[in-house]
């Protein structure tokens, strides 16, 4: 949109980038909206597939994107656009009201169908994936909706819960979920706690990001260190401070 007059906020250049050519330390480059998909794909590569024997699709948490892009509202808008197009699925992971998991639809469908090979629940799950997941972008479903809109019977709903595609949320409503994701949640929470402790136990409760990425991970941390760092920065469990030696992560006491 071309403007006849410039916006006042542009004149004061709210997004100041003082560094011309020199960049102190290691800084993450500012990316535009089109690059949210590429940062999603980058985060997906950090997900350890071997750990789960390739049974799980690659899961990324929504707040990990906040650690890469500074404008959260823009990230939210882009994600909603992708969800509406049907490229991306969002899940309520259960351990935190604000932690949403993101999975590419194609990945999800592929893995679920592979997992359902040869089981009795296979046809119901296939029908569910086709009819519901493709059409509806909701995170949860109520009994009314399942029975009337999507025409599933009670026994079929039980089959879906058994297969892991639906998880109980409340009496008569279910979350959309990823089958066999319990292991993921367990390792994730343990790893997050371990990484947070590493930051907390450092001198002054702060550590350089570059340094902690290089550290040897103990047995509690199963995921890539960078995966956890993006998570704790995005969830604001640590403060990310730019310094001349790179980004500093400081533990936030709340």
């Amino acid at each position: 949109m071309s403007r006849k007059r410039a916006l006042i906020s542009d004149a004061f250049n709210l997004k100041k980038r003082k560094n011309g050519t020199e960049q102190f330390g290691a800084t993450a480059a500012e990316e535009g909206p089109a690059d949210i998909k590429s940062s999603l794909e980058y985060l997906m590569t950090l997900f350890p597939r071997k750990l789960f024997n390739d049974a799980l699709p690659q899961i990324v948490l929504k707040h990990q994107l906040y650690s890469i892009h500074s404008d959260r509202t823009l990230v939210d808008k882009e994600l909603n656009k992708m969800r509406e197009r049907g490229d991306l699925l969002m899940f309520q992971l259960g351990f935190d009201a604000e932690a949403f998991g993101l999975v590419f639809t194609s990945d999800y469908k592929a893995k679920v169908l592979v997992g359902e090979e040869g089981k009795t629940t296979q046809t119901t799950v296939e029908r569910f994936l086709e009819k519901v997941v493709t059409v509806c972008t909701d995170l949860s479903f109520t009994k009314d909706k399942m029975l009337k809109e999507f025409l599933f019977t009670d026994s079929e709903i039980t089959q879906l819960v058994k297969s892991g595609v639906l998880t109980v949320r409340d009496a008569g409503s279910w979350w959309l979920s990823i089958p066999n994701s319990g292991k993921f949640t367990k390792y994730f929470i343990k790893g997050r706690k371990a990484v947070l402790n590493m930051v907390k136990k450092s001198k002054y409760g702060e550590v350089l990001k570059a340094e902690i990425e290089e550290r040897r991970t103990n047995s509690q941390v199963k995921f890539h260190m960078k995966y956890h760092i993006h998570d704790i920065v995005g969830a604001e469990l640590v403060e990310s401070i730019p310094t001349t030696s790179g980004t500093l992560l400081r533990f936030v006491d709340s």
Binding site: R5, L7, I8, S9, A11, F12, L14, Y66, S70, D71, R72, T73, L74, V75, D76, Q92, A97, D138, L139, S140, F141, T142, R169, D170, S173, E236, S254
Partner: protein, 388 residues
């Protein structure tokens, strides 16, 4: 900046645009002013401040010890170094002083002859500024968390009062009656705010996580309840509906034009709502630290081009851009927790007060940029713009 000045001189731009540009520039350059200070009268923390709307000259402050002080912000001494003097005080020695901490103070919107204060001693007092005696005392059954007088009301003179009782009382200044009650909340009401756009619209926030918008002319209940998921039940973690936050809602603020409403809650989130439809605009401010068990007094700038929100956050004030949610800066300068902020449209003063954990801590520190009001009237010439 020169571009704006030239355009104003040549008549290419509206005068308002230059004023907005200058206000925005000042807000972006806000810093602690080492030259201005305020008289230290309060021994304990300050819970609330209010700057009068008429001239922007007098400031009221209410403290945790029940003391109320009025300061004169104007600097007639001609010197740069200046301490704002306290004009008068309702101290512990006064017969009519509040027994416990003063939670809210507010000037009468039309002149400084009167102000209203409410306190944890379960009373709300309407004071005469001349004699410093209460003209009217309203008694309540529970602690009064907040009250608010509509800044634009012409047809009514109601004071909305939020107490530990879930019912909101409307007290009439003219007749002294308090029969009008708004029912709907299920827990204590932590904050009430009249809309600066429509004199009959009132927003209330409560510890039951709900924010309700009322039209006081209606006989039936609230107009609508704000829902953080915008009706999309699938996102909520349980079947409980229509909550504005996932914890207590303790801060409410309308924007200057009354089109948007900001709410803060103890779930460490701040949300921006469209005040006409009640829709959550889904602007993501990130984690807005909120540990207050009472009302959180925060403020929105008026007259800047991207509007800014000033929220007390620990011992500093966080400044966010209103519509994009970006954290612009943190204003540091206080030694202890900041309790409330107020925005002065001419001076871009963001006065923040604090509650000390130990006695004898700072009273008020001003963050001030000097400003000359004739900026808008004379096109090119700006007498003195000093920033520190």
């Amino acid at each position: 900046m020169l571009g704006f000045l030239t355009a104003r001189r040549a008549g290419l731009d509206d005068p308002l645009r230059l004023r907005r540009a200058e206000s925005t520039r000042r807000v972006l350059g806000l810093q602690l002013n080492p030259d201005r200070d305020v008289d230290r009268i309060h021994g304990n923390g300050i819970n609330t401040i209010d700057i009068e709307a008429v001239e922007g000259r007098y400031m009221l402050s209410g403290g945790a010890d029940g003391v109320i002080v009025i300061y004169d912000l104007e600097n007639f001494s001609g010197k740069l170094q200046y301490t704002c003097k306290a004009v008068c005080t309702i101290g512990r020695s006064s017969r009519y002083v509040h027994k416990f901490s003063v939670e809210t103070v507010q000037w009468y919107p039309y002149d400084t002859g009167m102000f209203v204060s409410s306190s944890f001693d379960k009373t709300m007092k309407v004071w005469d500024t001349e004699t410093l005696k209460p003209a009217e005392v309203f008694q309540f059954e529970g602690n009064v968390y907040c009250h608010h007088l509509s800044p634009i009301a012409r047809k009514h003179s109601l004071i909305a009062v939020g107490t530990t009782n879930p019912k909101i009382q409307l007290c009439d200044l003219k007749s002294g009656s308090r029969i009008h009650i708004l029912q709907g909340h299920r827990a204590e009401v932590l904050s009430v705010r009249w809309s600066p756009r429509y004199e009959h619209i009132l927003a209330t926030a409560s510890a039951d996580s709900k924010v309700k918008v009322w039209d006081v002319r209606r006989a039936s209940g609230s107009l609508f309840t704000l829902d953080q998921h915008n009706g999309d039940k699938s996102k909520a973690s349980s079947e409980a509906v229509n909550t504005a936050h996932n914890g207590r809602v303790n801060g409410l603020c309308f924007t200057g034009d009354g089109l948007y409403l900001l709410t803060t809650g103890t779930d460490d989130r701040m949300r921006l709502w469209n005040s006409a439809t009640g829709e959550n605009t889904l602007v993501n401010y990130g984690k807005v630290c909120n540990e207050s068990r009472k009302r959180l007094q925060f403020t929105v700038s008026r007259g800047c081009s991207p509007e800014f929100v000033f929220v007390p956050c620990g011992s500093s004030v966080a400044v966010y851009t209103l519509h994009t949610g970006e954290l612009v800066t943190m204003l540091r300068g206080h030694y202890n927790n900041v309790d409330c902020c107020e925005f002065h449209p001419d001076y871009q003063v963001s006065s923040s007060d604090l509650s000390p954990n130990n006695l004898g801590a700072q009273a008020v520190k001003f963050v001030l940029l000097l400003f000359c009001c004739c900026l808008v009237k004379h096109s090119a010439c700006v007498d003195r713009i000093g920033s520190s």
